[in-house]
């Protein structure tokens, strides 16, 4: 248990002294997770809305399928991306394997099912009476959709937070396609994994605490944005 306490002290020390290596690693973690979540959001919020508002055959099956992919293991996505971008793979010519770029691409794939699925849930969660009232007051289809989206914004925000959480906390994909290269693709989670296998548990614990602090800051920021609206 001393590791925990020492880890906490070490985390404080690393933060207070602005340890350049740790700051760079934390910065990369944040950059990759934020970028991939936002990219995924730009793709998935429209897709989710589309799935919700359109009526089509196999909609339920599609939603079940999307929800199934919430549970896809990060290493499996990692393996897929690895095989695609390996020099011997179909996209090997792009020379992207073991770069932050490919880590972002992988995380977009990882986070997308969550964002699409939870957007659908968020929109479905809007009370039926909202739609009915709007319709009875003469709102057009488009106006009703706007209203539903506005009502659902908190739930959509929750989806984004969850997606970000999955992106910043995953280790399998980052290790597999990023390679944990020092000063280039090393992020907090892969650094934790490395330091643990090296036996430096205090540093591992400290890095974990820093990751949680980042998540805390992000959540506070998002909360404030929500409350302003």
């Amino acid at each position: 248990m001393t590791e925990l306490w020492n880890g906490l002290l070490k985390a404080l020390e690393l933060i207070v002294t602005f340890n350049p290596e740790v700051m760079a690693i934390a910065g990369l973690s944040l950059r990759i997770a934020v970028t991939s979540t936002l990219l995924a959001a730009i793709i998935c919020l429209p897709l989710g809305s589309l799935v919700h508002f359109k009526q089509f055959h196999g909609k339920r099956v599609l939603i079940s399928l999307i929800q199934t992919f919430y549970s896809v293991p990060t290493v499996t996505v990692g393996l897929l991306v690895f095989v695609l971008f390996s020099r011997s793979g179909p996209l090997g010519g792009l020379n992207l394997l073991f770069t932050p770029t490919v880590m972002i691409l992988g995380q977009v794939l990882l986070v997308s099912p969550i964002l699409v699925g939870l957007t659908v849930s968020a929109l479905s969660g809007v009370d039926r009476t909202v739609t009915d009232t709007a319709r009875s007051l003469g709102a057009s289809g488009r106006q009703t959709a706007f209203l539903i989206l506005k009502e659902a914004r908190f739930a959509v925000m929750a989806a984004l937070v969850l997606g970000f959480g999955r992106a910043i906390s995953e280790v399998g994909l980052a290790l597999m396609v990023g390679g944990n290269i020092k000063g280039f693709t090393r992020v907090l989670t892969t650094a934790i994994s490395l330091e643990t296998s090296k036996g430096d548990w205090e540093l591992s614990m400290a890095l974990g605490i820093i990751l949680i602090i980042i998540a805390l800051v992000i959540n506070v920021v998002l909360n404030r944005i929500q409350q302003r609206r």
Partner: protein, 324 residues
Amino acid sequence: MKLFDKYTGILLGLALFAGLLVAGISCTGETTTTTSSPTATQPPVTTTTPAVTTTPASTDVAPLPAKARFRVATTTSLYDTGLWGYLEPMFEKKYDVEVDILSLGSGAAFEYGKRGDVDVVTIHDKPNELKFVSDNFGVERVPFAYNYFLIVGPPGDPAGIKGMNPEDAFKKLMATGEGTFVSRGDNSGTHSMEKTIWTNAGFNYADVQKAGAWYVESGLGMGPTLNLANEKHGYTLADMATYVAFKAKLNLVPIVDKGSLLLNVYSVIAVNPEKVTVVKNIKMANNLVSFLTSPEIQELIGKYGAKEYGIQLFTPCAGNEPKG
């Protein structure tokens, strides 16, 4: 804080706006052609390009194209002990190159080499190294340092194997079933060595795996496997460098440290561009081979970690197969 706040807000707003737009269109059912699903999104993140600005210092330097990075896959023990971290800046400076080091088990390192995802491998798994070279994936196997494997275990030595040679120790473990043995079980160089010992002791490895509850496969790296053996009061086969680095955290002592079988040789092998046509840095790979076997670096390897751990971690052997 303020800036970030604004930035996130704008982007979130943008995303929501896009959502509204598509939803609005689709809900009214006016258009059937959906303009959604933006494929092939190229992330706007630019990777840091290696600084290839200064002119090459010596003639054997192969300057790399600006985007290419020289990649090395190494066995974890050379990385976790910090040896690679110590040598990397020297090599980068000498040859003006950006080196990416991937720390893996030897099994995975070979796989990366075969796929052309790394230009060179530094590993410790002789049988598979020879196969890697004879299959033409590797150019040549060049040993550059060695140390020894150890069988470590609880100080009480429940199976009574202390001081035996490794084959006899394994025979006794099998015969008595006393004392847990934790295997890496991950196709690493250490795991490969363990299999060799079982074979030399006269056992079929597949039978060993089924021998009983005393034989545990961790599937983990060397450090975590040592921790597992420690928790289970069991034995494990460990490379000396990792054991020494972990010793302070463990209640495990060397039980078997004699026997020619326990020699642990680290080699460097350049990936063969004639077989693996996608690798492009063979010149730099050759530079690394001559770097690691050069007298100055050999001396540094021999001294590495001696002060910190009070023991020589690696014995240099400049291109020659050491004799136990």
